[in-house]
Each structure stands twice: as structure tokens, then as C-alpha cells.
């Protein structure tokens, strides 16, 4: 086997993986807002990710400007978040179930938007902002990695500003302690809806970028998005948590977490790991990481140290 050539193929694939990681990273930032700030696990994203992509691609196919198309995709995502928020607050349905209901409904909506299960868009005929073809051998200002990185930084800047405002602070308080928030005159229901809208707007925007990148939209493109988002959040916190304390840097950590996720994925694919098992692997990894805080509090540090020692000994024998 030509190992050098093989390694070369990995290196060739890495920029593409990084670009994909950046695109999904914007979705992961959306997940961070619901999961970490609002303290709800919002499953709407599996549907709204595709909605953003579907709206964007259909508008572009009608020869509209790419920015208008992406903006409309984002608005569609915000509408999805609005529905979940209404189900959750006004109708009193638990957040998880609200997200699942919206997600299910969106499956039909997405099919109707696209008219069929998938739609393709040709980078030669349409003026795409990003594409997997614009990664190598293009000027910097057209380079997909550069463009998505700039967009990510701008979005983080806006979010950093927003969560520092009076309204943004009240949103953080809502997620942290609803009882206290209401006692301080904060409309927690409104804030939950608002947070879900912002989150799903970002998720849909990310979907709008992905359809351009891969050149097509597909009704199943958002399946498991929540897990990828959570994985990115968790990886970001695990790797950068100790050095990134500032809120903006934490969001950056989430984006970097997403890039790491896709780089690792690329390596796994390169090692000829059965791709059918990828989602199972992601689910297991995320499940274990989500369990860590519980394990930490349930088993004292001493027990953990003991386990580690046993593990080390076992390894040496």
C-alpha cells in the first residue's frame, strides 16, 4: 500500500473538512445558545437546518441574489424557532417535545419548499458565495474557508454585543434562573421564544451555507444535526474551556470544536472506518461526554482516581 500517497489524500481532504466544520460551526453556535444559555435541548434544529438550506436554494434557483436567499433562509429558521417557542410557552408543551413536533412538521414543509426530496444548484451557472470548488486555487476573497471564517467572526461579534445588552442579559438570566428572572420583571416566556428564534435563525443560516457548499439540498440533510451541534459544543468546551473564559471566545471555541469534529471525521473516513457506523459513533461519544458532569458529582474524585489507577495497572499488565 502506498502509505505516502494515502497520507497525501488525507491532507488533500483536510481543507474541505475544515470548511465543512466552519459551516456546521455556525449551526453549533445556534445550539450553544439554546443548550447552554437558554438551558433547553431544542430538537427543532434537525428540521430548521434543512429549512434554511431549502429556502436559500429555491430562491437562488429563481435567480435572486445569494445574500437575499441566505437572509430569507435565516428568517425561515427564525419562524421555525418561533413555532417551537409558542408550543413551549403559550401551549405549555415541554421543550424537547415542542422541538420534536416542529421538526416533524418541518419535514413536510421542507418537501413542499423544494417540491421534491432534493434540489441541486450548479456553481457554474449560479453566483454562489461558497462552494467546495472554491477551496483551492482561488483568490483569498473567494476562498470558502476565508469567507465562512469572516462570517463566523462577524456573527460572534454580533452575538457578543447582543448578549451584553439589557435584553441579552435578561435572556441569560432567563436560562440561568427563571424564577429569579420573573422576580426581576423579566418576561421569561417572551425571552424563551426570542432565544429559540435567534438559535434557529443561525441554524438555518448555516444550512443555507451548506447547500451552497455541497451544491444541493436534501430533505435529510439536517438529520442528527443536534448531535453534531452538541458534539461541537462539548469538544469546544473540553479543548478550550480552560483558556477561553470570555463569552465571545467561548463561541469561537464552539466553532473550533466543530472544525475538530470534522477533521477527526475525515481521519476516521481515511482509516476506512465503516461510514455507516459514523452516526452511532457520534451518538456514543456525545452521550459519554454528556454523562461526565453527572459522573463527576456522583462518584467522588477519589473513586475516579482509583478507577484511573486500576485502568493504568490493567494496561501495564
Amino acid at each position: 500500500m502506498n502509505f505516502i500517497g494515502d497520507l497525501g489524500s488525507l491532507f488533500n481532504a483536510l481543507p474541505g473538512a475544515a470548511a465543512q466544520g466552519l459551516v456546521w460551526g455556525i449551526m453549533a453556535i445556534g445550539v450553544y445558545i439554546t443548550y447552554r444559555i437558554l438551558d433547553v435541548a431544542d430538537l427543532t434544529v434537525d428540521g430548521s437546518f434543512c429549512t434554511g438550506g431549502a429556502v436559500c436554494i429555491m430562491i437562488m434557483l429563481n435567480n435572486q441574489n445569494v445574500w437575499i436567499a441566505m437572509f430569507c433562509g435565516m428568517l425561515a429558521g427564525m419562524a421555525a424557532g418561533f413555532f417551537t417557542g409558542i408550543l413551549h410557552t403559550f401551549m405549555g408543551i415541554p421543550a424537547i417535545l415542542s422541538g420534536i413536533l416542529t421538526q416533524l412538521g418541518l419535514y413536510s414543509v421542507n418537501l413542499k419548499i423544494m417540491g421534491k426530496a432534493n434540489q441541486a444548484i450548479n456553481a457554474n451557472k449560479f453566483d454562489l458565495l461558497i462552494s467546495l470548488r472554491f477551496i483551492k486555487n482561488v483568490p483569498l476573497y473567494k476562498n470558502t474557508i476565508f469567507i465562512v471564517a469572516v462570517i463566523t467572526v462577524v456573527l460572534i461579534g454580533i452575538l457578543y454585543w447582543f448578549f451584553g445588552t439589557e435584553l441579552g442579559c435578561s435572556l441569560r438570566a432567563t436560562g440561568c434562573n427563571g424564577k429569579m428572572a420573573r422576580a426581576q420583571g423579566i418576561n421569561t416566556d417572551l425571552n424563551r421564544v426570542l432565544g429559540l428564534m435567534i438559535s434557529n435563525g443561525l441554524v438555518a443560516f448555516s444550512g443555507a451555507l451548506l447547500v451552497q457548499y455541497q451544491g444541493f439540498s436534501d430533505v435529510n440533510m439536517g438529520r442528527g444535526a443536534i448531535v453534531i451541534g452538541l458534539a461541537a459544543v462539548i469538544i469546544g468546551e473540553a479543548v478550550f474551556g480552560r483558556i477561553f473564559h470570555n463569552f465571545g471566545m467561548r463561541l469561537l471555541g464552539v466553532s473550533l470544536g466543530s472544525i475538530i469534529y470534522y477533521l477527526v471525521l475525515q481521519i476516521v473516513i481515511w482509516r476506512k472506518f465503516d461510514p455507516d457506523l459514523l452516526k452511532l459513533l457520534s451518538a456514543v461519544v456525545v452521550a459519554v461526554f454528556l454523562a461526565v458532569p453527572t459522573w463527576k458529582s456522583r462518584y467522588s474524585a477519589r473513586v475516579l482516581r482509583f478507577l484511573v489507577r486500576i485502568g493504568v495497572k490493567g494496561g501495564m499488565n
Partner: protein, 265 residues
């Protein structure tokens, strides 16, 4: 300042767990009244405070704060008139946010939350000053996360937050019960200082009969969803713990031996 007319509240109506926690209760507070509230477990004390705060709507009756009928207002709208401190120190603050951020949230109680910066630079001096008054060394830890503070520190901070934007009515629900005696005394002392300084109308639930007698100008005793004893002024000052125990036994028709209040005597 506060007028409560004939309010009733039944929980879990129509089930085996049905419980009428407030039974046509009436209460009027004058401007500047500092009222201590006592009563056995399940007497409806917390329920009364929750009814005033609007945690849920009452089934019957009217609640008027400072001349405004708030009976139908949701909790977050009533907050404009109210300062609240809860029994559990975890409840009154946002643990993942900084001390100054918590205070800034409280300073905006009753005001519209806009896209202006969450903390104006000029506010920090105010925060440092009022924190210094607490004597807990918090004035130099403005950006520390509240989750790192002790229960007593959090309770003192919650008290500041409740009174930072002067409330029409201060609601304290056993706010020192979860603290060790020394810390509890300190928080109580702070409470009296703040209330007297701003002439706040206050309802304070306590299980400590001594405190109930020594603090404030009026005392009410609750039992079974109603006010069974209401004493103020000179009569309250002359009150003894034994009197209260007797009163309670009379009203409930039972001995008071194993209630929590006895221990607090």
C-alpha cells in the same frame, strides 16, 4: 399600600390532592408597615406571598398594590412593585452571572429592557458602595460569578437586588431559614437596616417567634389559609413567645409540641 380582599386559592382542584391553601383571606397594609408572618407548616404563608407576587392567579378575590389592581397581572409585570427574597439562597440570583450583572438586572426591574449595554459604567460605583455596606467583602468582587458565593452572601445580595430599585412592597419568605445562626443574624440585621432606611412596606415570614415579636410594627399569625391573629403597636411590643404559643394552640385546637416553631423559640 397593599389591599388584599377575600382571596382564595385551591391547588389540584377536583383531585384527591385538592388543597384549599387560602380561604377568603383579607389583609390591608399601611404605608411603611413592617409585618412579620408566623404560622405552622402548611398554614399558607408562602402561598399568600406567592399570590401577591403573581406566581399563579388567585381563584377569587382582589389584590391591590399602591392603588393599582394587579389581580390579573402576570408575575413579571407585578415585579415592578415588588422586591422578593426566597428561602432557598439559590433562587434569588443567577449563579452563572457576575455579581454586577445580577445587580444590573435588578436595577432594571420595572423598566423596559432595551439594546443598551447591560451595565452602564457609571453603575459600578453605586454597586461598589452598596456592597461595601454589607461588610462581606463583595465590593471588590464585582465580576465574580454569584455561584461562587456562600448562601449567606447570596441571600444578602438578593436582598440588595430586591431593594435596589425601591419596591412598593418587600416580600421575604423565611429568607434566613437556610443560613447558620450567625449569618442569619447578620442578614436579618441588614434587612432591618435596609427596610428602615427606605421605609419599605414589608411582609416577612419567619419561624423564629423571637424575631417575629422583636422585628417590625405588626405581627400576623396564619392557620389553615386564614389570618387568625393580627396585633400591632404597643400590644405587639408587649407580646411574649408564650402568648403566641397559647394563641396558636387555641386557634388550631391542638398542642404545639412537635412543630418547628417550638425549636425556634
Amino acid at each position: 399600600m397593599l389591599e388584599i380582599q377575600n382571596i382564595s386559592k385551591t391547588f389540584n382542584a377536583g383531585t384527591v390532592n385538592e388543597k384549599q391553601a387560602l380561604k377568603g383571606l383579607n389583609l390591608t397594609l399601611e404605608d411603611g408597615d413592617f409585618v412579620t408572618v408566623i404560622g405552622g407548616n402548611g398554614a399558607g404563608k408562602s402561598t399568600l406571598l406567592n399570590a401577591i407576587a403573581g406566581v399563579w392567579l388567585v381563584d377569587e378575590g382582589k389584590i391591590i398594590i399602591d392603588g393599582k389592581d394587579v389581580t390579573k397581572l402576570p408575575e413579571y409585570k407585578r415585579a415592578k412593585f415588588l422586591g422578593r427574597v426566597f428561602q432557598d439562597p439559590m433562587n434569588g440570583t443567577a449563579a452563572t452571572m457576575g455579581i454586577e450583572e445580577n445587580l444590573a438586572l435588578a436595577l432594571r426591574r420595572g423598566h423596559k429592557r432595551t439594546l443598551k449595554q447591560g451595565i452602564a459604567g457609571s453603575e459600578r460605583k453605586l454597586y461598589r458602595d452598596i456592597l461595601a455596606n454589607l461588610n462581606l467583602g463583595l465590593e471588590n468582587r464585582l465580576t465574580s460569578k454569584v455561584g461562587l458565593l456562600s448562601g449567606g452572601q447570596r441571600q444578602a445580595l438578593t436582598l440588595l437586588m430586591a431593594t435596589l430599585e425601591k419596591p412598593k412592597l418587600l416580600l421575604l419568605d423565611e429568607h434566613t431559614a437556610a443560613l447558620d445562626p450567625k449569618t442569619a443574624a447578620k442578614v436579618l440585621e441588614t434587612t432591618e437596616r435596609v427596610v428602615n432606611q427606605d421605609h419599605l412596606t414589608t411582609l416577612m415570614i419567619t419561624h423564629n417567634m423571637r424575631d417575629a415579636i422583636n422585628i417590625g410594627n405588626r405581627l400576623i399569625m396564619m392557620s389553615d389559609g386564614q389570618i387568625i391573629y393580627d396585633v400591632s403597636g404597643e400590644a405587639k411590643r408587649k407580646l411574649k413567645v408564650e402568648d403566641l404559643l397559647k394563641k396558636f394552640a387555641e386557634a388550631s385546637g391542638e398542642e404545639f409540641a412537635n412543630d418547628r416553631m417550638m425549636l425556634a423559640k
